[in-house]
Symmetry: C5
């Protein structure tokens, strides 16, 4: 089935190959995509957007020549070790941090440089069609006039933010550089909700299926799979919440008070996402209870049918067997044996036996009805 | 069934549409009601009450002209974005806070402005007929001579408080402005109890139904639904308790000691509500145990009937089958075969077989009685 | 059954009627008893005891005239709102505290007045015959030369303490006024043990009943009921422990070090009571496991009987049915059909069939014995 | 069965009789043994050991005359109230502490006197043959040149320590007085391991019994009993760990740093014992799962036998019943009814029916084999 | 089965023999291997590697003569008490720490000497073929120019680190002495991942087996065994995480800030390992649910077959029994009894009965099909 593959494989591939390596050794996974570089440079009045893929040197020149602008350097794909090392060198990143970026399975966290720059990791989630949470890592480095972001895929969930930056009327352009880092975090957080909504819809679907007495195949497997998703989602979001809480505790010279109010809002959102996840967990646990009780009920139903049929027919079978006995009315020598089954020789014998059996059945049916076994309780 | 719709839908609608939006962007949900504005202005000797719906400008004039009075500005309904933005601007509210007000699915919380004003969110609960907790948000902003409250519905649970303010003898009128914020919080807390009582009554009803061996249809569904309510109630009240605890930790210049004593009382009430919720959780868990054990007992009962019927009749059927065999007393050539079922030719054969079967049944009944299967244990 | 009525009802009655009331509004429940007032005045050499019911004014005079004595003012019954308000006024109690006293469902707690006086709430427990924990509230206010106690009932668990005070040789008389408050708390704590012991006895009784294979009616109900008691007891005692812990953290000018050593002892006792409660919870959970496993065993036993009977007789019934077939030895035209059941015409046919069936039964019995189904495992 | 008697009885006896007594009142339980007094006096070069039972005065004289030696005063048995009170008075013990000593059911704890002396309580465990944890209390008071220890029994687990003191080469004799208190605590801790090992052995025995498909009688009772032991053991050791943690937090003038390093070691041991207890809990919970699954498997097995037998013979019985019907080949008036069971008059009728039944059985056996019901899965 | 032997035995052997011994007494277990001594001496330009087994004196000489180099003294095997005591003496180790080294069952921990040297314990894990976690202890002492490591086995998981040191280009050689201690800790942490991966593979295998409806023998045993491994792994890694957290809290003069950044990275790794372990626990718990539900489904399936067979044939058997009754068409005296089973004398009697039975069977099959009992739901 492979539905645990994703996270274990990710971790294993990322780590097994480096057992015993020097910590901070950069490794690029084989399947990593060729990096593409995008730049957005803006201030209140200016906005320039350009792709610098394969033109990293020109990007550096641009950055040196325009210190007054705010820059979002957007690196997508890790598949070029030399470029990664050059970025690490040029932007003064720690090898361990760069290792975190490239390993691509890192809990959400924030780290502060001595010069007050920040390194943040967020996890972007997506809910795929086959009920799996797909999560990617977004790594951010902030600098005085840039935010440097890394991610593995070319596609991401940040386009709405790009659109906002492109707009001439965006307040985002007037805010300090660090606000961009917040905005990125916030977009990631916002994308948790569609994931949650998809999970919630699926849970509700299962609920309705059980309530409608339509039991899909492998129902328990599905319940457990969605449970796994919810558990995984919580494990993704808890560090996100902790990260934001840590940001809120940063000194004001690192994170200005005017930005903290936004993080406080983000913190509330993270808490709400966790609340919802807890609520889903409760629902799933109730679903499991329902499933198991339903299983028991089906067994009871089967047993009831068996019992009713048996209880009705077993006595009847006895009666008909009784009158199938071959006790002889005469002993073969002409002597009548009047005690041996005289009923068989009565004119009303057969109708009376039929009547008797009818009465027995009626009594049983009344008993079963009173027990509630005939109604579908 | 839809019984998880409420909270998930609320959150989804509120958030999905704003994925990628600038944080602090105000959105008014389509179904939001047209705002109505009410004012209560009072001090120890004065009391004026007036509706200012569609007359917001006049309200502002009044407020400017009567700084010496205490005002409760009571906004019900969010369905006018322009008015909401004007309120935000005129009362100096932060866009993120205004967003919290309008999103209408916010955990209870308190935030302090730099100028010591407070922003509080409470959740008002109601227990609807079809066993759902209906919760609405009450958002409060305090100022030196006003409390500005927002809620989505025209109807609320605050009428008892309004009656108290209207009374000439109310101590409330003599107390500081902030006391009104407390009084609002307290009324909301007080309304948790009828909700809890309704839940408690329902649990008791289910308990009694099980104990009386009357098993309503879909009992487990009902148990799980009420469990969901209790879980939800706890999730509503925990933040309320934390909010009050945070208020108690506010410095005295923000929240005077003389008011904190009231919040301490409110804290006790919140704790008691949580206690009760915990107690309900225990009861519901016991109910589930009872239900499942009862399910097992029913199965046992069915099995017992089956066993008793089978065990009585199967041997009897064997006996009657035995004497239904066609072993011949003569070999067709006139030779008597004396060993072949001579019982059939005995004068007392039939009565003795009947007697034998009677004895077998008696032995079995005694055995079952001793096992306790005939009594309804 | 109503066994959850006690606490829910108490809370509901106490709170519903006051939804929307001004906090601190005093309410006297209808069924509250008429207050009786008792005074004990003592110092090392003096001891006076008198009932002042309906003579509250004389009590005040006495107190004013004898400031050098220590006084225990013992109010039993709340049924006189005017008196309650006068007490509140004369002893400088806060309306919210008085409300706590009269609501009579308050968690154990301690509050400190600005002038270092204390307000303490304890919960006294009693274990009634029908397996319910009956708990009453003891509210204490301490002053420089008095302890003012409130309780709802005329009967209480404090008589042993009264006897100690009456004794001329009691060290209690020599200790400071506050020691009396401790002594009252301690007596309440001591009364937790008989309650626990009664619960423990009952659990043990149920255990023994299960082990002795005597299954009382409604066993699971009983288990769940006693579980409810234990859970309730824990909810009563946890706040008591927290209260004492808070007393231990009080500054020395409020609670002198020489008294704290006694509270440390009380703290140990509270912890031990909670320990015992936890232990009971474990026992009850084991009982439930035993019960459910026992239920499964009974089902197994029923199934085994059914299986044994069926397995023995079904093949036999087949055999006797076989020889009850009417295949004809001649075709009605005088031709012998020698293949049609020649056994029926053999001289030893019947005995051999009986023998065959005996052998089959023997083989089956051996098989069942080996399976261990005949022994009562 | 009485296996909960030990702790509840101990507590009840100890506490019930003192409900309402003055806290700190000394009580000696009736069954308490007559106290025996032992003294070990030592320093680096000296070692004297003597029993002072019934010669308490001489003991005091010795202590007064030899202030330069270290003394271990070892009181075993509490059955002499006068002596206990004298000890309390002479060594300056607090009545509440003395009460703790004599009650003999006290959680492990440490208390510090104003003059830096210590009062410690440890619980010594023993695992009796009938699977019960037997625990005794060891109470210690430290002084400048003595350790005063109390215990209820004459026999204890401290002999190995005594042997070490007696040895001339023991470093213990050179260490400060307080080290003896540590050594006593450590010996008690060391004795937890044999108890744990005995519990572990028993769990493993039960595990092996289940795995070997040998199911001892009352297996679940045994599992639950050993679970009770483990739970009890944890409740004993947790306070011990907390006690040591508290000792580690004592200021250096009360507990010198050079001794704390030993307590740090003891702390590790306590943690390990708790780790082991947690591990046993997991094992026992797995055992319960195994037991219940095993119970279900047995039921399945019984059902399978029933099903196989019934499914094979019920159709066969139908067939033989079919040909036992008495439809007449002629209508009694000489007319042949050719449609009425002509099979009965065919020469190969009987063998063909036998063959048919054989084929039916074969088909069923193949079906069952494919279902895996014939193999013992 | 013995799968709990490892840890309990290890602890018991290590501790039972020393019950009552002086704490800090060194004991060498009988089966301990003869120690081998290895030295790596290096700085940026130098690298010397030599085995000093049985030449401890020469090792000391080397260390004294080369204070400028960094040394890793690598002791493998404890089986020489004299050497262990000499090491303890020469390197100034505390007897209690040396005892921890030799006991070889110690939780991960860190201790700081007064002179800022460190004592660290790590647990190295390995996952053996028969599904057991094999764990060994790595004990480290750091000094100004050496790291002294102890382990019980000759083989370990540190070879990758040795290779790195041997490399001329290793940055490790340029870093401070303490970095080696970190590198050792990190290698141990890295080796947790293959263990986790092996456990994860095994869980997935079991999952797939259940989903493929192939049920291996003793499936539950296997599930519980792997659960035990995961629980054990968590108990190993939690202290490791706590150790690293404690290192991060060490003052900078003990652990320089430049090294803490590496430990922060290690902390993240430990957290991830624990995350994975939690995730496995969830998976295993889902597996158990699946197993038990599967067990119930199998029972349902068996019951269904039984019910279908019985329900089809029991009525049929009644019918054929009915017409096997011997009611006589004449009373033996020539009088016809027309009511006694006239069907038997009808020309179409037999075919009609066959047809009737066919219709009954059809009706039942349709009923079962509608119930879904014929399809394999």
């Amino acid at each position: 089935m492979g539905y645990t593959v994703t996270d274990r494989e990710a971790t294993r591939q990322a780590r097994e190959q480096q057992v015993g390596q020097r910590p901070g050794t950069l490794n690029v996974r084989e399947e990593a995509m060729k990096p593409r570089l995008f730049l957005m440079a803006y201030d209140e009045n200016t906005f320039i957007e350009e792709e610098y893929t394969d033109r990293y040197d020109e990007l550096l020149v641009w950055l040196r020549d325009h210190p007054e602008l705010k820059h979002w350097i957007d690196v997508r794909g890790y598949g070029d070790l030399a470029l990664m090392e050059q970025l690490m060198h040029d932007f003064g990143l720690h090898p361990l941090q760069m290792e975190d970026v490239l390993n691509d399975y890192q809990r959400a966290k924030v780290e502060v440089f001595d010069d007050h720059r920040l390194f943040m990791v967020s996890r972007m989630t997506d809910f795929t069609r086959n009920l799996e949470i797909d999560d990617d890592q977004l790594s951010l480095f902030t600098g005085p006039n840039y935010v440097l972001s890394f991610q593995d895929d070319y596609d991401d969930c940040l386009d709405s933010l790009r659109t906002r930056i492109r707009s001439n009327f965006s307040t985002l352009r007037r805010r300090p550089m660090l606000y961009l880092a917040y905005a990125l975090t916030d977009v990631v957080l916002d994308h948790y909700y569609p994931t949650m909504a998809a999970i919630g819809d699926y849970i509700e679907e299962l609920e309705e299926a059980i309530f409608a007495d339509k039991r899909p195949r492998r129902l328990l497997n599905r319940i457990l799979r969605i449970k796994k998703d919810v558990v995984r989602f919580r494990r993704l979001v808890y560090p996100e919440r902790d990260k934001i809480a840590e940001i809120l505790r940063l000194p004001d010279e690192v994170m200005p008070e005017e930005l903290k109010i936004f993080y406080r809002d983000a913190y509330d959102h993270a808490i709400q996402a966790l609340d919802l996840a807890e609520s889903y967990r409760d629902n799933i646990s109730s679903l499991t209870d329902l499933y198991l009780s339903d299983q028991g009920n089906r067994m009871n139903e089967v047993m009831k049918v068996l019992t009713i049929i048996s209880t009705i027919f077993i006595p009847l079978s006895f009666v008909v067997g009784l009158y199938g006995m071959n006790f002889q009315h005469d002993d073969g020598h002409g002597h009548v044996l009047p005690l041996n089954m005289p009923e068989l020789y009565k004119p009303w014998g057969y109708p009376m036996v039929l009547g008797l059996m009818f009465i027995v059945v009626m009594i049983q049916l009344v008993y079963f009805y009173r027990k509630g076994w005939l109604t579908n309780r």
